[in-house]
Symmetry: C2
Subunit: 383 residues, 2 copies
Amino acid sequence: MAFHFEIIKGDSHSQARLGRIETSHGALTTPAFFPVGTQGTVKSLTPEELVEIGVEGILGNTYHLYLKPGHETIGRLGGLHRFIHWERPILTDSGGYQIFSLAKLRKITEEGVTFQSHIDGSQHFLTPEKVMEIQRALGSDIAMVLDECIPYPSSHEYVKASTRLTTLWAERCLKERRKDDPAFFGIVQGGMYRDLREESAGDLTRMDFQGYAIGGLSVGEPKSIMQNVLEWTAPVLPENRPRYLMGVGTPEDILHAVMQGIDLFDCVLPTRNARNGMLFTSKGKISIKQARYAEDPGPIDEACRCYACLNYSRAYLRHLYLANEILSARLNTIHNIYYYMKWMKGIRAAIQEGRLAEFYKAQISQMNEAPSDGAMYHQTAAC
Amino acid sequence: MAFHFEIIKGDSHSQARLGRIETSHGALTTPAFFPVGTQGTVKSLTPEELVEIGVEGILGNTYHLYLKPGHETIGRLGGLHRFIHWERPILTDSGGYQIFSLAKLRKITEEGVTFQSHIDGSQHFLTPEKVMEIQRALGSDIAMVLDECIPYPSSHEYVKASTRLTTLWAERCLKERRKDDPAFFGIVQGGMYRDLREESAGDLTRMDFQGYAIGGLSVGEPKSIMQNVLEWTAPVLPENRPRYLMGVGTPEDILHAVMQGIDLFDCVLPTRNARNGMLFTSKGKISIKQARYAEDPGPIDEACRCYACLNYSRAYLRHLYLANEILSARLNTIHNIYYYMKWMKGIRAAIQEGRLAEFYKAQISQMNEAPSDGAMYHQTAAC
């Protein structure tokens, strides 16, 4: 599969860079955010809607698709793009995170991972090679090598052994790589330990991956750790390869990470929170179920031009949410993804125009001053 | 509100008629089928999607909207059309059916109905005048007078008293009618008794309603009763007023009723069954969850041009259904409503071109010959 990354412009005050990734399914401008389509659908939306909102790529979960409907079925039906009617780039993860967070009775050996399906308890054995085969059948544009996602907190000893296993698995992947494969990314692990993060990043950099992911974050660790890990890791990674921060995050997290040199993001935050009635606005987050919106004729956000904001009142959206209507999930999801796409567009424009530092100051101070209606993120740790 | 009905063409072999209803929110061609938007949304779809599928009017449930978010709230927000972003005709029922089927501890007196909400147990009292006031606040184009929906089976004595009460309530409504009101329809009751159906139809016909509904069907009675009731009732109703068969039904039921002279229909059948994975096709009903579709690359129906059939395989739709994905409800609902709209269009074209008898023969024999995969209607009685 075709894969090419180029940096269009670097930022002079930070590590941020504006870039472009070409794939067999079209191009992406980076920094980019990929909405999550866990089971072969970005929950509640059609591909046409995603395109209209400005989404350039989506993430599919290898673990979920392997279990249901099965990568072989998807392969026989022409691959994931055709199966789900999405013609643009697809990034798939390695399943490591879901085996860690969803599956039961995990047993990890050097050979691979044995686990029980969270759906029906059936037993499965995944190796680095098998995970490549699954992503090949899916026809992903960007694929991840198998990693062990490490719980937080874990001892230095445990993290050291686990990270070396992930590195070993990465080597095995490289050996198995075929000409028409997706672009495989190595995943930097190392927990919250500087030496191990640097070692992992260094080891993987010496291998020729088409991109590098930073994993093992958003597993319940304090916010400051993410910042530290990025500071230790990003500088070690090769300049000319895309860097992907897995499972992150809030708009603020993304902006911080972009300034550390990250190019790609994915997170369930905008979509999952939409379904829980939490909406992003230019004046802070709101929780649409609140009584104060019962007869509010205004849109979610006066500054937003998404389909939900152009056509529906907060009062109606509150009614749909409380009535548990499917249209609630749709309209809220459209709005939140639109917000994220606008956010990424703003970041890219700021890098392009050499004003990322100003953008950062203006946005962060506005976020800090935003009046809150008490809206809270739902399960951010499970991104 | 504007309301005008004209018959464009009658059928020479049956009582069927092609007609046109003009309302303040645009025109409808009859025979017409209204998808049900119980809580101010046709479950899972946007108004734009409904328009694209060819829907000309939808039904809203007075009982549900009165309880949540409340007719006064909807009124203050500019009426139901504006609240839900639907600019075409809206028909609202009287709430009688839901009070009968959903509410608890009903008590009916000549003055009105006392009942407990199925949501929170709160007590409510609705009179014929109050039901008019609710539908006025909603801004319905076509509204129903309060009726008592009679359980099946009921004694002649009970049905007689109940039907007379419905007639009495209809008289009270007429007295309260204002110039700008929706077009109010009287509702013929009378259970499965010929004398009472004829009496009810005759009494209401002597009052000047803008249309006539036939109620009290789809309450668990055998299929043959519907046919009998239509034969007794329709001929008594005035030729120059639209006739509405409430809560009906299957495509076959609709075709039979059109041939008895019915102009309007509504039913949850296409939408509710879509959410349960039952899909209508030109070769019979199918149940999308069946294993035989696991790797079926074809569309739901080769003969269908709906968005779901043009872009997705049965295999993907089965996967979405089994994975409990919201997109499953959307795509299935689009397909089933499209099927109903095409069905109504076929009926109208057949009347227009004087070949309804041939249409009937061809369609019914095709339905009888269709191979079944065992798909069953879900809860048809609760239309």
